[in-house]
């Protein structure tokens, strides 16, 4: 795979979250890890980020109604 998919206009900004950030997030929304939306381990974006199973990925979406906001997905098999 040589394509940089993050360059594509459909791709949002991705970031792997640190452990402390994840704890803060889960506390803020009062949810557990398994309640978060999921992203597959073989997803091209996860591969390019080099994320591992169980990591939480912060996705910075651009929205026509809300400007910019963060969405979170946990990496699963």
């Amino acid at each position: 795979m040589d394509i940089d998919i993050f360059k594509n206009r459909l791709s949002p900004q991705y970031k792997i979250m640190q452990k402390e950030e994840v704890d803060k997030l889960l506390e803020e929304y009062n949810v557990s890890l398994k309640d978060l939306p999921k992203i597959k381990l073989n997803d091209p974006a996860v591969k390019q980020l080099n994320a591992n199973e169980g990591d939480v990925i912060e996705i910075n979406r651009k929205s026509a109604t809300a400007g910019e906001y963060n969405y979170y997905r946990v990496v699963v098999k």
């Binding site: 998919i5 594509n8 791709s11 999921k38 997803d43 809300a66 400007g67």
Partner: protein, 376 residues
Amino acid sequence: MKTQVPEKYIIAFKKKYGEDADLNELEKIYKRSLVTPGEAVGVIAAQSIGEASTQLTLRTKHAAGLSVINTTTGLPRLVEIFDAKKDIPTPFIDIYLNSEYSKSKEKASAFANKIIEIKIEDITTSYTVSPRKKEIVFVIDKDVLKEYGFTMKEIISHLSRMKISTSVEGDKLLVVDKSASDVKKLIRLRNKIVNVNISGVPGISRAILNQDKEGNYWIKTIGTNLAEILKMEEVDVSKTVSNDIIEVSKVLGIEAARNLIIEEVRGTLENVGLTVDNRHIFLIADAMCLDGTVRGIGRYGLSGEAESVLARASFEVPFKHLIEAGLYHESDPFKYVANNIVSNQVIPVGTGEVKLVVKENGKGNNEESSGEDKKQ
């Protein structure tokens, strides 16, 4: 959780009522406009899109004989997107080129010719299979061959990976397979050879050159193979996308697929002059992409995978689900709308979602103090 008024509303508010406007008033208005907890947003989204789609024409325009690329539009396209259909009937890619190629017509059209898939089938006029000699003879069209700029040698080199012996006799291509025991095997071999790719990207059957307002050339294709196209150096990776949602989810990821769903639904509705609030489309796209793969809405997608037996049974094919549930000893959590309606209970929507919580001893708000009370 603290709600924050988005900056763009603050800016708009200050513009209208002056710099020293009362922001508390704005916060009140903003909070009133938010969706209240327990609101059945899914049903509202379904209604909003469902009602609008009754206005769509059921039949797509018949475009046979026109040189325009025929693409699925209107209601069939909407159904296609929401069902997350694999192998859609009219896939295409809008290929945008790097500045070097998009400016010159020759370079752009040379690239368009380069990506069109040419198989052996396209350069042969006829073939004969002779079982006794275990031989297949392809008659190659020399004019077409010259037009594409191939030589016989190149074609043979494409066949070298197969375990067959090939030779050329005039404009004939002879293929002998000693191991073939009957006619069936020879026919199967012929079908395999005919589909051998000589040049171009597999899956792209046509490429049409277009020019935008700024004079840049771009290419629209029939057929799709996004992974291969994006690897080519002539292509502008940032702008090129296909209309196949499943393919995009595999090549660019689930988030890109979600964005494409929104784009395609909005485009399809706008094409026929309908406006549906974006938020409804966002909700559906998010629900479809929730578990990391694109799931359709329907019997084989979201509704068919519901946790509750009764919810599934009340959607479609009830007997199948009830019998299966009985066989496999399934339990029903009674958390959702459909099963609570079936069993005549309050549905968990709006005020029905709020449960009354009474503390055992009626005192204290946190666990620590209630624990102390018990000890005494």
